[in-house]
């Protein structure tokens, strides 16, 4: 499988504060890579750099073989992002929002794409609803539809199931698994839900204080650290003090 995302020794400094201290990783086609770490570990900064919203202080990012630096627009056509911290305009209907983003991503047959996504994400009856009046679970599915409107090769997910009830959370996870398998896309999943990460990810990066402190398959990590589950591994690693610097 080829690497769709290649991150080579990227660093990000905010003045004297080193938010990311030279990390490297790859995400293969048809792979979900988990990005774990306590708050302030550099996950959001890393995602920001992958999205071209942040300029790395040094290092290089390649998406589908193309350097992000200098090819931002071409690369943005191939990726998308979902986060509970960003929303779609609340006053627009679901269909209007999806149409706007279909146009922004220059999708040829927008209506067909919306129809496909609304069927897959159980949005058929919500297309004419006002986005701001939807429940969290419904909004989440609409955001996911927006994130898939351009058939991205790389999908960046920041807490995609935060604040969802277990049923909707499970639906979203199953959908992501199926979609990834069907379209062979790469997914970077930043999450604090360890069960979700264990279920979806074959490999995990553990970040702390701007560096990758451990990586591997969830089961391998659990065994390596002698813990019962990934949550315990997470707690063990995030409570260690500055021994990785």
């Amino acid at each position: 499988m080829k690497n769709l995302v290649e991150v080579k020794n990227i660093k990000k400094n905010y003045g004297k504060n080193e938010a990311v201290k030279g990390i490297s990783f790859n995400i293969k086609e048809d792979e979900i890579l988990g990005l774990l770490g306590p708050n302030g570990s550099g996950k959001t900064t890393t995602i920001g750099m992958l999205l071209g919203l942040l300029k790395p202080t040094s290092g290089e990012i390649l998406i589908n073989g193309q350097k992000l630096e200098g090819n931002r627009i071409e690369i943005l056509e191939q990726i998308n992002f979902i986060s509970p911290y960003i929303e779609l305009p609340k006053k627009l209907t679901v269909k209007q929002n999806l149409t706007v983003y279909g146009k922004l991503y220059k999708i040829n047959n927008i209506n067909k794409r919306i129809e496909f996504l609304s069927e897959k994400l159980r949005l058929e009856n919500l297309l004419n609803s006002i986005t701001g009046e939807l429940s969290s679970g419904q909004k989440n599915r609409v955001s996911l539809a927006k994130a898939l409107i351009n058939e991205p090769k790389v999908l960046l997910l920041d807490e995609p199931t935060a604040s969802l009830d277990p049923e909707v959370g499970d639906f979203v996870r199953s959908f992501l698994e199926d979609y990834k398998k069907e379209k062979k896309i790469s997914i970077l999943l930043a999450s604090h839900n360890m069960n979700e990460v264990t279920r979806l990810c074959k490999s995990i990066l553990m970040m702390k204080d701007g560096i990758i402190i451990d990586e591997g398959n969830p089961k391998e990590l659990i065994n390596k650290h002698g813990r019962k589950n990934l949550e315990e591994v997470f707690l063990k690693l995030s409570r260690r003090k500055n021994e990785f610097n």
Binding site: Y14, T44, T45, I47, G48, L51, G52, L53, L54, K55, I73, E74, L76, E77, I79, N80, F81, S83, Y85, I86, E87, L88, P89, K90, K91, Y101, L104, Y105, K106, K146
Partner: protein, 258 residues
């Protein structure tokens, strides 16, 4: 009760734009109305057709205000609705974002302007069309300056984040005393006159008054208005690109919606 006072006190003391806001509005209002009062007290016969001239200038100023605020509103709405990040990760060039905002701001301004123009005739017997073909140039000049201010403020929002919002509302009022909207430039103190001559506004409003009162056209005023507009427009675009790069370095773009 003291706790609630403290909550607002801490907020004000931690935000320079908020402190500025407290001082800014009274200062601007007093300055603007001081010049207007001074003018009317000393030049009672200046306007033969006072209502017509003042109303025409008010409509022109409102068009400028609507254009500039309209542009800022488009940008702010994306921040308020937490949609900002979605837009900046869409495959759009900065030039495309600016062009779409500029066009939308024009439509918004025209929607507000047309009813105002239509109302002045039946209500006051005045038509802004008395300015003739030069009305187009005056509007074009105001539109250019309005979007220039909009781009400058948006650059500030990119660079400093949502705390720059207060400045967005206040730019037009800051320029109002220098723009000589309701009085000729001679009313201003000499230092203010020097500043005013660096703005396209003074040429636009001087020319509007010149056409309506003297029934003559001074092309030089229109030329200077466009010249300064060109200078500020190019500067604003350059500043927007610069702010975008600074925002990419500082991380403002990812925190904007949070």
């Amino acid at each position: 009760m003291y706790g609630l006072f403290l909550r607002h006190f801490y907020l004000i003391t931690r935000s320079f734009p908020r402190v500025l806001d407290l001082v800014y509005w009274p200062t601007i209002q007093i300055t603007l109305w001081g010049f207007i009062s001074n003018f009317f007290a000393t030049h009672t016969t200046y306007y033969n057709n006072a209502v017509g001239v003042i109303l025409t200038c008010a409509i022109l100023y409102d068009f400028l205000f609507r254009t500039s605020i309209g542009f800022n509103m488009l940008f702010l709405e994306e921040i308020w609705s937490r949609n900002f990040t979605n837009l900046f990760i869409a495959p759009m060039k900065i030039g495309e974002i600016l062009t779409s905002l500029v066009a939308t701001a024009l439509i918004r301004a025209l929607i507000g302007l047309i009813p105002a123009v239509l109302l002045t005739s039946p209500l006051f017997g005045i038509s802004i069309l008395d300015l003739g073909i030069f009305l187009f140039f005056l509007f074009l000049s105001l539109y250019l300056f309005g979007i220039t201010l909009g781009i400058l403020v948006s650059a500030g929002l990119l660079r400093y984040g949502p705390s720059f919002e207060n400045i967005a509302w206040s730019t037009m009022f800051l320029l109002a005393p220098f723009g000589c909207i309701y009085y000729p430039i001679e009313i201003l103190p000499e230092v203010f006159q020097k500043i005013a001559y660096l703005l396209p506004l003074v040429y636009i409003f001087e020319e509007a008054r010149n056409i309506l009162i003297n029934q003559t056209v001074d092309i030089q005023n229109i030329y200077y208005a466009f010249m300064w507009n060109g200078v500020y427009f190019v500067l604003s675009i350059a500043l927007f690109y610069y702010s975008f790069n600074v925002a990419k370095n500082k991380g403002t773009l990812i925190n904007m919606g949070e």
